[in-house]
């Protein structure tokens, strides 16, 4: 029996037959910008994990004889206003920024996806109430919301992450709900109900895996957004507290000495941009790899 196999089916077969996560990674890496993003993210993660090994100096050690030193062989990026090694501080700052970015997006995603699943699946009043609450949250500009939250909770890393999560879930809730509304009408959901699958199992086992693709893309892009927000909040003095280093914090202090030591601002700025852009590129790559329509368009010229 010969079958005409659609080109997208071939890709799907290769994705399905091997390790799906690995196959997906391979598909993303084929996207040039996403490959660049993956490399940068991998490097940042390695830097964050091995910060104590990679940092040439203790990031908290002050040397008041060498404040705002220009780059030299001893201090590759120079020193800050208290004579601490800027490179070491940025390396340690990677930990904070990545941690905040990844953890707060994951927490937002878990809350938001759960809320969106329930709203979309239950429909009716439950849906209406949940979505109006979501709308109310979305009316606040993110930065103002986070500033207000910080004012209530007080500054500090945990509180910043908490306020990100409290704000960020709305995006996932909307996205998940929209996807659920599409998927729940598909015949295989009715088929699952017809064999007696209970509602919660339909939600988590039959619907959730089918809406993962756009969620994965959103999580990736949100990580970049959260890193940017953390920098912004730290820049305003609400994020990490001294002497802890984060990219946004360094940028803020460097900003004061912009004329004396431009690299003090430029270096953390470059780190922030690099990280945010990388996560966005990977998000784009993921979307292209996961969307069969785009995949078809890229592979078979029509």
């Amino acid at each position: 029996m010969t079958e005409v196999v659609h080109p997208t089916a071939v890709v799907a077969v290769s994705v399905a037959s091997r390790n799906p996560a690995l196959a997906l990674l391979r598909a993303v890496a084929r996207h040039r910008l996403a490959a660049f993003g993956l490399v940068i993210i991998a490097a940042l993660i390695i830097i964050a994990i091995f910060a104590p090994v990679l940092a040439p100096y203790n990031p908290f050690q002050q040397d008041l004889y060498r404040v705002l030193a220009p780059p030299s062989r001893i201090h590759l990026l120079g020193t800050d206003n208290l004579g601490r090694d800027l490179l070491s501080r940025l390396i340690y700052g990677t930990r904070v920024s990545l941690f905040v970015g990844i953890v707060s997006s994951l927490v937002s995603a878990v809350i938001g996806v759960f809320v969106g699943l329930v709203a979309g699946f239950r429909g009716g009043m439950v849906d209406a109430i949940i979505m109006r609450i979501t709308d109310a949250f979305l009316c606040f500009p993110p930065l103002i919301f986070i500033l207000a939250m910080s004012a209530v909770l007080g500054p500090g890393l945990q509180n910043v992450m908490l306020s990100f999560a409290l704000f960020g879930w709305t995006i996932f809730a909307r996205l998940a709900r929209g996807q659920v509304l599409q998927v729940r009408e598909l015949p295989f959901i009715e088929a699952a109900r017809s064999v007696g699958v209970p509602a919660t199992r339909i939600m988590f086992r039959h619907i959730l895996p089918n809406i993962m693709a756009p969620l994965l893309v959103a999580i990736t892009i949100t990580v970049g957004f959260a890193i940017l927000l953390e920098s912004g909040v730290s820049f305003l003095g609400l994020g990490v507290q001294p002497p802890t280093a984060s990219w946004g914090k360094e940028l803020r202090i460097g900003f004061t000495y912009l004329e004396a030591a431009p690299l003090f601002s430029i270096a953390p700025g470059v780190m922030i941009s690099l990280a945010v852009i990388s996560f966005n590129f990977v998000g784009d790559g993921l979307r292209d790899a996961l969307d069969p329509r785009l995949r078809g368009a890229n592979r078979v010229p029509r």
Binding site: M1, A12, V13, P187, F188, S194, V195, G196, N210
Partner: protein, 329 residues
């Protein structure tokens, strides 16, 4: 276990299903009553939109609410009333005692799970099977519907199966818990003509092996003639004629049934004889004609047909028809 011979496995009485649409309320199923006896094949025939699928879905309380709602009637399965039963009871019957095979094998399978996981789901839920027992049972099931290399095929994803294979798999899944009743809603409509016959043979053999009753929903009169024991003909949400499959071909009594039969080619008919389509269009479900819904298209219609809805009346021979006119001869 042994019951009176007259006791049907499934009794449907005055089943009414309504759908709320933007234009108003549509009564998709309007007072449908029928019995399904153990081991028989009952066909539900009618054109698109006549309410046959809604009837099937209502039997398992699968009507999406909103927009649909079962507004009246009774469904008794083994003396258990299903419309008033709690959700857990109904869930326990679905896929276990009453199985359903859908029209669209292409979309009735979840694309992210392997065939094996989906085939095993009813067994997991209703028979508490897992691990090797479940695997062995799944292999046996796929084998019973003639899918080659069953143990390897369990690892496949739905998109790697052809339409025919998917519908075989759906049949295997329907049979997995040894149900008393299988509801097949146009099981072969989406498939190639050459595969349709094969699949119906398979379905017939499978229900016979499992001593299950089959409610076969179709618009294909050829399928009815070949496989069904009894037939219910539906028009505009009502059963208009109900009798044995032989009788419906030999002596149809409802003008709609007669029209349907005239519009299909038959081998025992001289070629010179023309196929006669039923005049007019199926009625708009929002504005059903008064009286008998078929009267605007009916060549035999009398005044009474326009004003009063005929009731389904059964004669001594068991042939029931809802028509004011005796069109025999």
């Amino acid at each position: 276990m042994a019951k009176g011979a007259g006791e049907a496995l499934l009794c449907v009485r005055n089943l009414t299903v309504e759908f709320a649409t933007e234009a108003g309320i549509v009564t998709a199923v309007d007072g449908v009553s029928f019995d399904l006896h153990a081991g028989e094949i009952l066909a539900l025939v009618g054109e698109s939109g006549c309410g046959k699928s809604a009837t099937a879905l209502a039997l398992l309380r699968l009507i999406a609410d909103p927009p649909g709602r079962i507004t009246g009637g009774e469904i008794r399965f083994r003396n258990q009333e299903l419309l008033s039963a709690d959700d857990a009871t109904v869930r326990d019957i679905r896929g276990n005692r009453i199985a359903m095979i859908f029209q669209e094998p292409m979309t009735s399978l979840n694309p992210v799970y392997t065939i094996g996981r989906q085939l095993g789901e009813p067994l997991e839920l209703h028979k508490n099977l897992d691990g090797d027992t479940l695997l062995a049972k799944c292999v046996a099931l796929l084998e019973s519907v003639n899918i080659p290399e069953p143990s390897r095929r369990l690892q496949s994803y739905p998109h790697q199966f052809s339409g025919g294979m998917r519908q075989r798999m759906m049949i295997a899944m329907g049979m997995s818990c040894d149900p008393d009743i299988v509801i097949a809603d146009e099981p072969t409509t989406a498939l190639d003509v050459t595969i349709q016959a094969q699949l119906l043979e398979l379905l017939q053999a499978q229900v016979a092996n499992h001593h299950a009753a089959l409610l076969l929903i179709t618009h294909n009169l050829g399928v009815v003639a070949r496989y069904a024991d009894r037939v219910n003909v539906m028009y505009a949400g009502r059963i208009v004629e109900s009798t044995t499959a032989d009788e419906i071909y030999r002596a149809p009594r409802h003008p709609y049934t007669i029209g349907l039969l005239r519009s299909v080619p038959r081998l025992d008919q001289p070629i010179s004889e023309k196929l006669l389509p039923i005049e007019g269009q199926p009625p708009n479900p929002l504005e059903l004609p008064s009286g008998c819904a078929f009267h605007p298209r009916c060549p035999f219609a009398i005044d009474k047909c326009r004003t009063t809805t005929p009731v389904l009346t059964r004669d001594a021979g068991g042939h029931a028809v809802a028509c004011w006119v005796d069109v025999r001869g």
